[in-house]
Amino acid sequence: MKLRAITLKDVRRFTDPVRIDGIDNGVNVLSAPNEFGKSTVFDALRALFFVPHGSRGKEISQLRPHAGGAPEISVEIETADGTFLISKRWLGKPEVRVTRAGVMIAQADEAEGWIARLLGGGDGGPSGLLWVRQGLNSLAEGSNKEQQAALVARRDLLSSVTGEVEEMTGGRRMDAALARCREELGVYATGTGRPRAGGPWADAMQEVDGMVLEREAFARRVEKLQTALTERARLRRELADLEASEAVGERKARLEAAKAAHGAAQAYAEKVTLAMRTLQVATTTAERARNDLENLKTIKNDYASAMQNDEKAKAQLLEAQAVLAIAEQAFGAAVGEHDTAERGHQRAADLLQQVQARSKAIAANDRRRELEERLGQANAARQAVEAEVAVASVGPNETDMEHLRALAAALSTARALRDSTATRVMMRYLPGQEGSLRHPKGPLEHNTALPIHTDTGLHIDGLGELLVLPGEGPEGLSDVASVKTEVSTALSSLGVSSVDEAEVAHRKRKEAGDRLTQVRAELAALAPKGIEDLQRQLATLPAPAAGDGTDLPAEEEAAKNLDNAKALAAERAATRDAVRERRDDARMARVQAQVRHEAAAERLKSAGIALERLASKDEAELVRLADTAETEWTNADTALSQLRAAAPDISTTEATLKRVQSVSNAAHQRIDALRPAIAALNERITGNSGEAVEERLQETDEKLEVARTHCARVEREVKVLQRLQRALEAARSEARDRYFEPVAEELRPLLHLLWPDAELNWADDTLLPQSLIRNGQEEPVDILSGGTQEQIAFLVRLAFARLLAKGGRHAPVILDDALVFTDDGRIERMFDALHRQAEGQQIIVLSCRQRAFRDLGGKALKITAAVDQE
């Protein structure tokens, strides 16, 4: 169907008929300002096609002009069957007619039916997809009724192209199967495929785990029980073995035997001990006999030896005495010579001392004379110092003078100041009159100013006295007076009457001071430590020596003599010491010879006594006794050896007895320990066996097997459901993709005008795009910008329109202000999309954006006044 012309009368502002003519194929643009009536045209078309002529509803009443009236709308359409005029009027004489070339085709309800068939039936038909009213810029806007109508239209369209969506995706059956599969799976597993807590899968696994633990616990108890049984059997056998009469008898017999053996061994050991004592006695006796014999021989030999020794010692003593006598004599001579040399040395030293004393005395006399001279000079200098001191302390010192000078200067300054401000008189004498004017101090000089400070009378020769009365006094007069007073005071204190005098006094003082300094320096040079020190030095000098000492040798000679004497004394001393040493050695040798002689005599004496003691013994008798003792010893030794050879090992019998005893004791102890141990095991075994642990273990084994089988079945069930879910979801997803492919294929190039790689994902409940994929990112449509949503909606409608057209169902696309949020950059591409899709179709664009849509192109439509077509 294509629209060719639209006529309105009594429709809102169009009370007079208006017409839009020449609506062409392709893009048609009605661009007019706001409130020009564009939306009225849109609403009028919708009313014509979808609102029955008998309707008095809101959508009709809103079409009426303010002043009232019956809205009339006519549309010329072109279909495959020709050109028709559809006219409808509401409210006042409502009617609807369909005519072709003026011939009535249908009217009233028949006409309504004809219109419905034209649109393809349903509430809205393709207009839900293709007619966009102003303000509805996205695909999911509008009233519920409008949205539902649009959904139906979309479904009808897609179904007509690809088949019913339900048929393709499985529809409710698929939903039910998937829901049931998910529901059943959800009982077992979470969304991530893990066992759901509290679900049968988790329970089955827990059951198995619990059974395993329980089984392990029973197995441990069974093991413990079996261990206890084994242990008890072992202990019982051990106890039985220990308590067996045969075993008891055997232990007793062994113990008795061990005791007997050990007793016999002990008795035998005593016999051996006795034999050992006998041997010991024989040994002692034999040794004594031998010793006696040996002693006799030894003593005789000792005596002879002692005699020889004694003779020898005596001879050595005599020799040592002779040597000592010679050494004593030599030592005496050496001592004499040394004494003589010592005396000579002493004399030389005394002589030298005398010579030195003489030299000292001469030096002392010279020294005395020097000191006396210096002392005299020093005394004189001291007197000079005292004199100068007296003078140098009189008169003003430097400080006084500075003060006085300062006062004098101040006085001069004050005077000058005073004079500079004082009244002055100057006399210029006539020639020959000089000196005729006198002041108290004398005549005035010619042409010389004389300051007058106080009332002053000036005598003028021949005239009288001229009084000069300066008045209050010149400036500085009082200062001069005060300074002058100070000067007077200072002079007075210094004992002078003037500054000059003070200067003179000061100069004298200073000169005296200089002289004082000089004589002090001289005194210091003469007596650095003072005159008293000179006096003391003088006092320490010896009295002048009497005689001249001419009989004494020179000091040098005396010293040389002394050295020679000293050397001789030293030599003689060394000789004396050497001789002494030889003498001492001779003394020592004599002493040692004495000692040896005494020792030899002592030894001889002892040997004589010992020999005397044994004189009574017969050597032959001693030999016989020794032989007898030897024989007895041999016999005792043989007897002991024989006994030892046959002796039982008492250590062994003792060890055997201990061992056997310990075995017997251990058996008793073991028996005592086994009984309570067995009793304890009995109790444990009875307790465990009474609890039927083996039965319960076996039962647990069986339960575990059942649990594992059940768990395996559950896990298989989970796998089956998961596999089924995957299969159903994959199949449905593929079917959905196939369902939307036609519209996606139409839409793709349009999307790529805006985004080169864009794709849309579709919701199969609303059959609308739900997300945009561009630049690899998927973005839900409802969060896209208003402009982008508008553009997508726009392009989707164009795609739907093309699909309809391909299906032979041509319907005009009517867009009322459909691109309000699109920027200038994209709007051109939208225009390109419009023209691309307009091939074979009719697109009517209503817009108030005249400037923006100027570049859209297409056929420009106008609303013009119309002649009543009636």
């Binding site: 029980l225 049984l229 059997a233 039927a692 642990v693 069986e702 994959a730 199949a731 449905r732």
Partner: protein, 376 residues
Amino acid sequence: MIFRFIHSSDLHLGRRFANITEPPDGNLRGRLMEARFDKIRVLAEAAREQGAGHVLLAGDTFDSATPSLQVLRQALAAMRDAADVQWWLLPGNHDNLRNAEPVWDEIGGDAPENVHGLLDTSAIEITPGVALLPCPVPVRATGRDLTEDLTRVQTPEGTLRIGLAHGGVVDFTDSGEQIPPDRDKSAGLDYLALGDWHGRLQVSARTQYPGTPEQDRFKHDTRGQCLAVTIMGLGATPEVSEIETGSFLWAELALPLHEGEDAAAALDARLLTTERRNTLLRIKAGGWASLAGHAALRVAAERHAPEFAMLDLRTDGLGTLHDMTDLDAIDHAGAMRLAAERLMAEAEDATLAEEQRDIAAAALNRLYAYSTEAPR
């Protein structure tokens, strides 16, 4: 001299059947345990009916080496109550001398007078002219043939020699414990009463296994029984008769299915119709069935199950035939059909691991179930 006795073994008193799934009424295990215990009474009755004064229990009287006091004491009390019967208990591998020492201590110390524990290999004159030659099992695994000692046991001239032993005549584990099948001859026995096998087995005329008097597994497909043995005299061939004693039947039913066969009908035809309450039945389905056939078989089994003590349907060996009608039942086209086709392809892809194929087949079966239950 005629000597009669009851020969039984492997009572396994105290077994708890924890591997048996409890039905909703929660009492099958108890019933099974009670049935075992009741065998003492049944054996005593059998002895009376046969005129036998002795019951020889050839091992494994107790299921574990340490039965609970209740199990032990109640068993002894039941034996005591059958005071006209002498009970001869041989330790088996489950209740061997070592591990079950407390049991044998209890029996040795405090058992009723008519209950005898055979704790060593000494020959016992159980009645004048009849010697019992026991071979008690000392430990769980002995590694040798315990009946070998019988060849050295002497008995007075003219005495019947009855051996009592526990073990297998076939050595599956190469343990050396095999009892020679001609032990009766080598030991000069008039009869060798064996235990350990839970199924009835006649090794020779003089060497017999009675089997357990109450079955406990799906192996032998019969009810439990005991043997009534009559020896007419020295050298006489024993007369052995079987006496059914079992309360429960443990049966295993093979159910081979063919392509196109009605699985439910096949099952119905094979099932027992009587005494289902005391029957534990394991059905092993094999062969091939379609998805619908699987479902039908499952439904049929679920329908019959409540009548049985236990009905266990095993379909591990039942292959699934998938065809287009199955897939059509899921959907004719669209995503559901696509999913089903893919699952079927995966289930039939021989290059994939068996588990993966099995999972895919099960997923397809599940999808089929969802689809056949969901309204169109």
